[in-house]
Amino acid sequence: MMAKLLKNREILLVVAIVALVALIALRFPAFVTPASFARVYNDTSILIILALGQMAVILTRCIDLSMAANLALSGMVAAMLNTAFPGLPIPLVILVAMALGCLLGMINGTLVWKLNIPPIVVTLGTLTIYRGLIFLLTDGKWINAHEMSDAFKALPRLGLAGVPVLSWLSLLMIALMFLVMSRTPLGRAFYAVGGNPHAAVYTGIDVGRTRFFAYCLSGTLAGLSGYLWVSRYAVAYVDIAAGFELDIIAACVIGGISIAGGIGSVAGAVLGALFLGVIKNALPVINISPFAQMAISGTVIIIAVAVNARAEKRKGRVILRKAEAV
């Protein structure tokens, strides 16, 4: 029973997070309070949303390196829209950001689908292009807090039942993604395309189109995150979230999503992101130099890959009857 439980990646990850929190609690008991957890969750919300999108893409054996650049561009456009038309209702601004994110994702998806260019090359290219576009759009100028309308900045911070909207939004996205992944043909197609693209064709699944939709999804979520990021930190400029794409992928890897496609779950992506979030938030609290954070997350990634690879390792065929009994 125990062995079977330990085989489950998600449970293993929960155990690891609990152990980590316990370790932190030894040095800083105040970390283990509902308020503190709520804060860590809120702080990790954007990473969670992004990891969900990346998960869909990785499941189909692709990768999206352009998510952070997409976030920055969509966020910048949202901010520009807000400064140009302060009266525009915020939900509309969010919709525009998501639509733009989706469009950028569609560009990735189309290049992967229609031209068969390897995903890593496509998104490596669009990563620089999207970020460059922000510069062209703004001449590199920042949009600062005072230029944004109060409503624009207030939304993610607004408390609903004592929890900020930002957290609510990420919970909503988790629920939606869970529904998409488990209860819709598209969600199941993600698994099929990544698990066995050759077989997926025979099942009547269009591999390219499924990948395209995965990119649309990751793009839309990046667009949403773009607004959230910009409004939360109340600033938009070319370099926001630079290098964050690797954090997103790291969250997925830690969450047990196989880079080879076909394996992974919503719970895994969320837990992987939370694991990174706990580390990020705990280090300053327990007085470990923030400079150690990078080395720690690197080590965690390597351990996570090793553990997951062990779980995935195919055993040879059991042919001897007596061996089978064991």
């Binding site: 031209l115 890593i120 620089t128 890897v253 997350s297 080590t299």
Partner: protein
């Protein structure tokens, strides 16, 4: 699939002559692009065609290109190493630390190369020893190696490198030919021979095309891959020496983001990111193109990020255009 009609027992070695093969190759496309950019630059700025300026411009790509050569082999073998920039940081940190202890130049070089090798070994062991996917392992070691630099240095910097150490990044071999550029040419030749003229290079291609079949054919897959990661580590160490010498100081943020630029250079050079094909001349041309684009745009005071858009577009379009072209031709033929 209809090969039955072909006459048996008289199979020619090659169907096309050497000239036709070269003309049709990716490298000739790149060469045309490179020449176009060279001409464009000469027209756009009066400062471009100046030996010293061109010499200065080589510093834009030489260090990255050194790593790109080794990276090309890694990618041809079907793997990837995203930790190279972090190896530069760690090697530079180690050298900086040694300087504080009063170590002299030859020992510094040894330390730089040694740390590079050790980092490559760590990657190699994790990937070939434990059989983990290289893209994830090196994302992990990328954070780990640079993280170690941050732990050592934090907000500090190491400076005070000996005068003689400056030669690697700032010295000239002969006239306008800097040490770095000379090294770049030398390494291009060495890697070209290694990949295209040796059994080892053939093994790299075989592994990239079909790892299992290569193993069954007696290729020592794990050993070859291990050596490849050692080589990228070593090259990152070498690049670290050059860059550190050029900057004269070490910060943990040194060479941040270079891994993607190196991969871009390799892919632009025609190396298939999925492994199995690619050439060193292609990578050399890609390095020159990227260097010239950076420099040309710099002369016009165009911000670096605009040139990165150009590189990004170039990366996608050089792959997409031939595909689109072929499709268009097929449609016309119908």
């Amino acid at each position: 699939m209809t090969d039955a009609h072909l006459s048996p027992r008289n199979i020619p070695d090659r169907l096309q002559g050497r000239g036709a093969r070269i003309l049709k190759s990716w490298e000739s496309l790149l060469l045309v692009v490179a020449i176009a950019i060279f001409l464009g630059n000469s027209l756009a700025s009066p400062y471009f065609l100046d030996p010293w300026n061109l010499s200065d411009a080589t510093f834009n790509f030489t260090e990255k290109a050194m790593i790109a050569f080794a990276m090309a082999l890694v990618i041809i073998s079907g793997e990837i190493d995203l930790s190279v920039a972090s190896i530069i940081a760690l090697a530079s940190t180690a050298m900086g630390y040694a300087v504080q202890l009063g170590v002299d130049t030859p020992a510094l070089v040894a330390i730089g190369l040694g740390v590079g090798l050790i980092c490559g070994m760590v990657n190699g062991l994790l990937i070939t020893g434990l059989g983990l996917p290289s893209i994830v392992v090196t994302i992990g070691t990328m954070s780990l190696f640079r993280g170690l630099s941050f732990i050592v240095l934090g907000d500090q910097a190491f400076t005070g490198y000996p005068e003689s150490f400056a030669w690697f990044g700032q010295g000239y071999f002969w006239w306008v030919f800097s040490f770095e550029f000379t090294l770049f040419v030398l390494l291009a030749v060495i890697y070209g021979v290694l990949l295209h003229k040796t059994n080892f290079g053939r093994a790299v291609y075989a592994i990239g095309n079909n790892q299992t079949a290569a193993l069954f054919s007696g290729v020592r897959v794990a050993r070859v891959k291990f050596i490849l990661f050692l080589l990228t580590g070593l090259m990152a160490g070498l690049a670290s020496i050059c860059l550190t010498s050029r900057l004269g100081s070490t910060r943990p943020s040194i060479a941040l983001g270079w891994e993607l630029e190196v991969v871009t250079m390799v892919v632009l050079g025609g190396v298939n990111i999925l492994g199995g094909s690619g050439t060193i001349p292609g990578v050399v041309l890609a390095a020159l193109i990227m260097g010239m684009v950076t420099f040309g745009f710099g002369l016009l005071n165009v911000p670096g990020i605009v040139m990165s858009i150009f590189i990004g577009l170039l990366l996608i379009s050089v792959i997409a255009l031939p595909i689109l072209w072929q499709r268009a031709r097929r449609r016309l033929a119908h």
